[in-house]
Amino acid sequence: MKLAKNKLQQAFDLMAKEANLLVPMKIEGVTKFAPWGAEGELAMDAVNTLLPPKDALFPQTEKMYKYKTRLTQVESLEEIKETDKQIIFGIRSCDIHSIDCMDEVFLTRGYVDSFYSRKKENLTTVAIGCTKVLPTCFCDSMGLNPVAAPTADVQLNDLGDYYAVKAQTEKGEALVNLLKPLLEEGDGEAAALECTLKVNMDGVQKKLMNVKMFESDIWQETAQKCIGCGTCTYVCPTCYCFDIEGKECGNEGYKFRCWDSCMFSEYTRMAGGHNPRPSKKERVRNRFLHKLAYFEDRYGKGSLCVGCGRCVADCPVDLDITMFIDKVGALKEAGSND
């Protein structure tokens, strides 16, 4: 099936009736996935939105439960359940894969995270193949294809005046069905696209998992310029670490979780004051190892870096994960210093 580009707005209206529709928007200079109809301009040509779409499933701040207390007693405690239907439209292959990664974390290994799973069940993803790449894009080096996201519910590909539309799951079929009045017969293949930034992950994960690597000088050298801000973790589509805190007002309050960053000193500091990751060396080491080695070791689903390039573009000091990958790749053996 195909959708003429001049019917895009109609398609949005149709989808927005069924669900909270998130589309790439530029709002006050920031590109992100925002509700269709929000104040701002549609940004279909933003190859990668500045902010990742992860907050559709994992909001930066998410209320978990609310409570009322009276003196020493807990009068009520009620879980907050969000069950609104959501559609993300125009998401790219890298970000679709980031959802696959978060699914592993939140939905497997003994516990299902109810807050995430409720949102995931109610989410339909409409991917769109890229027609150009940014200088910082390297998703194909991480095993992805910029024009095809196999795990998206619907795949669109830009073919000039129209989008080729392909449902890839049951949810996707339902959505295509909804759009049927606007669709025409037809098909077309997206032109292949290659990223210009290339990294070679061959052997990198294995080298990094070697315990010898943990004490390598490479960490001090790499981390030296880090200023310890959370930019990389907050623009990253797969950084899922969170904190749980509460907010109280009088005798009622709520517990919420919010994005946290392993780059912050407070992240691992314990009640007695001890911090197992006292400096930026340990923090950068943990982040890069998590991205490039630990996730694969734990979940067997490849790297937790999807190659979207956001951190490469936005790091204030150009601490570039692709240059780090190259550096590890060039090491003669794990743990050696040259």
């Binding site: 207390t69 109810s114 314990m270 630990y294």
Partner: protein, 280 residues
């Protein structure tokens, strides 16, 4: 989608409300809190070594090892060392708290069957060990000789005094060895650091498992002593701690390498720890 396997209700991140039914002063800075659900049950059924997230609604949550379980209650021994624990120590009986769990793996109670046991605790480190000690006494026939070596800074810092001086020494084939770092009160016990006393007691490594919990510095020197005495790394079991928030392996912060302490730990053998980055 498989659902989670814990006993805490529908959502693993939402606590159950419990009553504090008993508070025991252990030392000037440690209290044991006994909790029970509002309908008079234990909030969950942990195995030795497992953890529980204990929260004072409106103040905060913290992960603690379950010190003991009874028919209809759980005990948490909690040392005062931060904002949350300060507030917990201000509680009185009848206070309601939130509890969720059980989290983490357990002491290898099965693999230790048929063996002599040496339990070593330092300070509040006896709290996690106690769950295994109690389990061993409940299943006394399954285990050989039991030695308990416990050290604290001073006599007033000894936790679980009734167990140490009355209950445990009365058990079959059981010896309790107590030491304090400095002799500041009149108390009939050994004076000296745990590692030195450990070497003095000269335990034989044959068919014996060691459970070792305490401050990192004590663990380090006890390990040296145990190695000197001929124990191998797979005979020594310990627990790790890191800052935790979720307890279910999602929030990210308690990892050591690709392992999460809240899920894959807190119990590790020293042999397992050797294969992990030394970041604890």
């Amino acid at each position: 989608m498989t659902n989670h396997e814990c006993t805490c209700g529908e959502n693993p991140l939402v606590p159950q409300i419990c009553n504090v039914i008993k508070i025991t002063d252990e030392t000037p800075d440690t209290k044991t809190f006994r909790v029970q659900t509002l309908d008079g049950k234990k909030p969950f059924d942990p195995m030795p070594g497992q953890l529980g997230m204990f929260s004072l609604i409106g103040v905060g949550e913290g992960m603690f090892s379950v010190t003991a379980k009874g028919e209809d209650y759980l005990d948490f021994a909690i040392k005062r060392c931060g904002m949350l624990t300060d507030a917990l120590h201000e509680m009185s009986v009848g206070q309601q708290v939130g509890v969720r769990g059980a989290y983490g793996n357990t002491f290898p109670v099965e693999a230790c069957k048929g063996k002599d046991m040496l339990f070593i605790g330092g300070g509040i480190g006896l709290a996690p060990v106690r769950s295994f000690i109690r389990y061993a006494f409940e299943n006394r026939e399954d285990y050989g000789k039991i030695d308990i070596l416990y050290g604290a800074r001073s006599a007033k810092d000894l936790v679980f005094k009734e167990d140490l001086y009355t209950n445990w020494p009365a058990m079959k084939d059981t010896k309790v060895h107590i030491t304090v770092d400095c002799d500041d009160e009149e108390l009939a016990c050994h004076v000296g650091f745990v590692p030195a006393y450990l070497e003095e007691l000269a335990f034989k490594p044959d068919n014996r498992m060691v459970v070792l919990c305490g401050p990192p510095i004590m663990i380090k020197f006890c390990l040296d002593s145990l190695t000197k005495m001929g124990f191998s790394n797979d005979q020594v079991i310990t627990t790790l701690e890191m800052r935790m928030k979720c307890g279910i392996g999602k929030c990210g912060r308690c990892n050591i390498g690709s392992k999460y302490i809240c899920l894959d730990g807190p119990v590790f053998t020293m042999a397992e720890l050797e294969g992990l980055p030394q970041e604890f």
